[in-house]
Symmetry: C2
DNA sequence: GTGTGACTTTAAGTCCGTA
DNA sequence: ATACGGACTTAAAGTCACA
């Protein structure tokens, strides 16, 4: 079983690509840093609840649907 | 609109009480500190993804169902 | 059984850059 | 456009004593 952070990272990358956004665009729209998005996608960081909600909003998905895919 | 942390805290308290657990029991079962649970319930901390998953497991609810109630 | 303040350590998150 | 690194600031993790 891969770690939670790694699975979140993969999912984030997938959702971001599906939306046709670059890491930089996603970061800007979320009010986050470009390098932080990179770290999230590589499984080097894990988001807080607030960050999860911010990202989900920009990606036009519900936060719970993201979490559900990690269960 | 109340902050996300505050709403998570209220929900956590509600779910914990529904399960008939004290903060102390929940904390022990999660491998967390009692005072940390207290801070979460008061909205003074916000959980990371990992902490959310730990707590949800002990409360016998899915992490996504918790998140869904915060949307 | 819980709230709270003070605290130390770890991780979240930013900002600079290179390749 | 992204990976990756160092140095940094802010907040979360995690603990303790006391009310």
């Amino acid at each position: 079983m891969k770690g939670l952070e790694a699975r979140f990272g993969e999912l984030l990358k997938e959702l971001r690509n599906k939306k046709g956004l670059t890491q930089e665009e996603l970061a800007t729209d979320c009010g986050l840093d470009r390098t932080y998005i990179s770290m999230l996608e590589r499984g080097l960081r894990q988001p807080t609840l607030t960050t999860l909600f911010k990202i989900a909003e920009v990606l036009n998905v519900s936060p719970s649907s993201i979490v559900k895919q990690l269960e």
